[in-house]
Symmetry: C2
Subunit: 140 residues, 2 copies
DNA sequence: TCTTGACCTGTGTGTTACTCACAGGTTTAT
DNA sequence: ATAAACCTGTGAGTAACACACAGGTCAAGA
């Protein structure tokens, strides 16, 4: 299988596969005469593994470490559990931050519905943004 | 005010300020004799504006455009409303994706509690990851 | 046989918003 | 005088690709 064949088979873009090869996650054989990469069934299932791990929140370096450990005949499972618990905490924090930002944005949009446009005076740049106090009402 | 003074005053890292200068968001005067940057009160309130806009979900290029428009004496408000509605939609999508990933991760962790570790056989890499089907129960 | 068009290649750069490392100049306190 | 603590600009690194580019390769039609 060539890059584009594998890409179609796994529903990803060819550039994604090239990226994984560059990062050392996939190791295709190379046709010496034309430089083309060729992927055997083992590489294909490796790609499927990568995609599954990614959807579970593992980073590419994480996955690379897991693959390496497995290739050495060691059980990657303890590592997998450990990494996952770290990523889980990270994701939870990022999620909360993003939720917070989203709520703030929505509040601002709502408040701005009823406010007129301003012209800059030198004192301020945009009263919509400057005048926005998180919470929207009488605090701060 | 020097970089580090401004950093302390606004509770950000000096490198962040240098970054904003590099991006053209802040324009300090420069002491010709030693190359140090100096920030006047106008620049300080510009920084406060930048930080507030950032917390509202605007990107640095967004903010740069808003500042430029304001500096030309035009009202940035229509632009601000427009950009915000775009960023709001983007953030909502990212938020949902992240929530989805988080739920998947938590499900996996829970399922893995009761599963033993594996040893690589060549057939598979890690059965925890390969065996996980999103949904967790009887589907797929 | 030649040419055309579609595909392939590696490499390099751009994305976001910083963060850190580096080598060296400046200031301040002792 | 000197040492500590500050400052500077520049360049690279972060995640996971996406895209552009110049050029090589291949199958098919004329």
């Amino acid at each position: 299988m060539k890059v584009s064949d594998l890409a179609k088979a796994c529903n990803v873009k060819p550039d994604t596969i090239r990226h994984y090869v560059r990062c050392g996650l996939l190791s295709p054989t190379k046709d010496q005469s034309n430089g083309y990469k060729y992927f055997n069934p083992t590489e294909q299932s490796k790609l499927r593994f990568i995609l599954k791990a990614k959807s579970l929140g593992f980073s590419l370096p994480d996955i690379k470490a897991i693959l390496a450990q497995s290739a050495e005949g060691q059980s990657p499972c303890p590592n997998v559990r450990e990494i996952m618990s770290v990523r889980l905490r990270e994701t939870e924090i990022k999620l909360k931050e993003m939720q917070q930002t989203f709520d703030t944005m929505r509040n601002a949009m709502e408040l701005w519905q009823s406010q007129p446009d301003c012209t800059p005076t030198g004192d301020h740049i945009c009263h919509l943004i400057e005048g926005f106090t998180d919470g929207g009402c009488c605090n701060e």
